[in-house]
């Protein structure tokens, strides 16, 4: 298994949609074959269409506020000693997270396809919030599927969705989290694919949704590449790009432009959710060697039992609380281009505490997992090593959990 040069990673799949011959694909009911194919054809056309690209860039810049900041965390660097710690503050984007990139592109596509409404899934509520925001902007009706457990723990984002006029459909089946929300959203799409466009909230799902999401979030690394060169005059010799991985949309987008650099120069480190320290449950299929299985239309490493039932996950961060992971990351793991590790709930919380103590930055619980790894790594590394953490979400949505666990927000 090898990564090809000169071809975008999202296009390195075979005719059945598999990366590396075994990750991804289209495990979908017959009813969805046609709408998925229609979407494939439309996307293929649009990504070559200059007018469409111009429109995308216009909204990214003027509406979402791209490019987002690339800043050095001086205090944290000084406190830890060792490698320099930088942050790409993607949470600066309108809405407070990278999910708005994917949501905007999906709504632009929905408009082109002539569909009047969109549906989407959400875990942390960001994908839902951004989709509702974009739907409102582009005059589309919007339905968001969200696990009942997540609705409770991510209330601020739910309030935002309602304010944007979206309908939130609570999902009570299974573990009542993201995995069930995605299933329910796909069910809704099966029944309404003639009138509704589906936006999968991460680089997961049938092949085309992985591609559209990866294509959208790659904006992050396009900006970063320019910013690094501006800051350092070139891409430095030792760069480490740290990003949390749930479904894997922000990390893929954070890495994409640097795919063809030698990993000794630009290393990718993905941090999954290790769950509570004392619990056996986790949301880290790559770190803990889960087997390949089929989930939500794609083959991927996924937490499951011996016979193939998907296992319940546990994580303090709703956005990472997903038993599977993007086929793109499975591919990056097996080709050894990226390495993956996990941070526990407790490690993420103390990272949040440390970052907010030293810096004027408030990362949500998801990127706090990545900061936990940065805090671990930095003291062991030399000063010319550049650690960049994608601060992909803002902690505002986590205020209830943070208040409860840390006594303050």
């Amino acid at each position: 298994m090898k990564i090809k040069k000169n071809t975008p990673l999202i296009d390195q799949h075979d005719k059945f949609g598999f990366w590396g011959g075994k990750f991804g694909g289209n495990f979908i009911p017959e009813t969805l074959k046609k709408p998925v194919e229609d979407l494939e054809i439309l996307f293929k056309k649009l990504r070559k269409n200059k007018k469409f690209i111009k429109e995308r860039d216009y909204y990214f810049k003027n509406w979402l506020g791209s490019p987002t900041r690339f800043i050095k965390l001086h205090n944290l660097t000084n406190y830890l000693g060792g490698a320099q710690i930088w942050a790409k503050v993607v949470s600066d984007l309108n809405g407070g997270a990278h999910k708005s990139l994917n949501a905007t592109v999906h709504c632009l596509i929905a408009k082109r396809s002539g569909k009047k409404s969109v549906c989407g899934d959400t875990g942390a509520g960001y994908a839902g919030k951004m989709l509702s925001m974009a739907a409102k902007k582009f005059g589309l009706k919007c339905k968001i599927f969200m696990g009942a457990k997540d609705i409770k723990r991510q209330k601020p984002n739910c309030d935002a969705m309602k304010k944007n006029g979206a309908e939130i459909v609570p999902v009570y089946t299974g573990s009542q989290t993201l995995v069930d929300a995605v299933s329910e959203c796909m069910r809704y799409w099966v029944s309404n694919c003639d009138t509704t466009h589906m936006c999968v909230g991460s680089t997961v799902g049938p092949n085309i949704f992985v591609k559209i999401c990866g294509w959208s979030t790659s904006q992050i690394s396009r900006e970063l590449s320019v910013q690094i060169k501006k800051e350092f005059g070139r891409i430095p010799k030792k760069v480490k790009l740290l990003n949390c991985v749930g479904g894997g949309s922000s990390s893929f987008g954070f890495w994409n432009e640097f795919m063809h650099y030698n990993k000794k120069q630009v290393e990718f480190i993905g941090i999954e959710a290790g769950g509570p320290k004392k619990s056996k449950r986790h949301a880290a299929p790559l770190t803990y060697g889960s087997k390949i299985g089929i989930l939500h239309g794609a083959a991927q490493y996924v937490n499951q039992n011996f016979e193939g039932q998907i296992e319940e996950t546990e994580s303090i961060s709703a956005g990472l609380d997903y038993p599977g992971v993007s086929p793109l990351h499975c591919f990056l793991k097996d080709t050894k281009r990226a390495r993956y590790t996990a941070a526990t709930d407790e490690e993420a919380l103390s990272a949040y505490k440390l970052v907010t103590k030293h810096e004027n930055l408030s990362p949500s619980l998801e990127p706090s997992h990545a900061f936990a790894e940065a805090i671990k790594l930095a003291p062991k590394l030399s000063k010319d090593t550049i650690i960049i953490v994608n601060s992909c979400g803002d902690a505002h949505k986590d205020r209830d959990i943070l208040k409860q666990r840390l006594g303050k927000f």
């Binding site: 495990f27 017959e30 009813t31 969805l32 089929i294 239309g297």
Partner: protein
Amino acid sequence: MTISQISLTFKNCKKEKRPALITFTVAGDNTKKNSLKILNSIAKNADILELSFLHNCPIADGGQIQNSTYRSLSNGTTLKDTFQIAKKFKNKNPKKPLILMGYYNLIYQNGENNFLKNCKLSKVDGLIVVDLPWPENKKFAKKCKKKSINFVQLLSPTTSKERMKKIIKDSHDMIYYISMLSTTGGKLKVSPKKILENFNKIKKINKNKNCVIGFGITNKSIKSFKNSDGVVVGSEICKEITRSLNNRQNPVTNVSKVVTRLKNKIL
């Protein structure tokens, strides 16, 4: 090649000038014992029996079947149990076709060859894999054919005519037409007339293929499909199990009654 029991069943139904009645139940619902009892008791009226092997992320199932699935899973039903139920049923009813239905991950984890071996040992007649569409299913369907297990291809209202032709060409003794854009058990939102129009389009491509119609078919609507090759009823049965349990009644006798009623509507 010997003629399959599925083909024979359709032939016999045609002689009686009626569609085949195909039931769908979830393995282990509400218990392993009752699940077998239900199969045995409805076999006198049902022509072909579909039995689902469980998956806890069923992306194409509606509420009723999800309820049944979660009920059975929480009772600890495994794939092994499902094969046991199938085997016991077939030993008692060797001439009744039994089709297993489910999602691909269970087959993938079991290993395709191993799964088919288990099907053979349990004398399963056919397979429906919801999330393994054509052409992705070509290889697996061929493996099934080699083992004389019918791989049932699905068609839907979104399937283009060109695609239909290719799928039908690769199909075995039975095709399943999904009546409308819906998960299982949705309300019939298309008129039976429209559904039959599409059914006839399929028959025009190859009149010899047995095509059954499923999704949203209930006691109320089943009569409208008298001229098809077969009708599938699932959610209505799962719903009856739930209702019986809520009312502390025996699900076996109640489901049996429901199936008798369904059968009488198409005679």
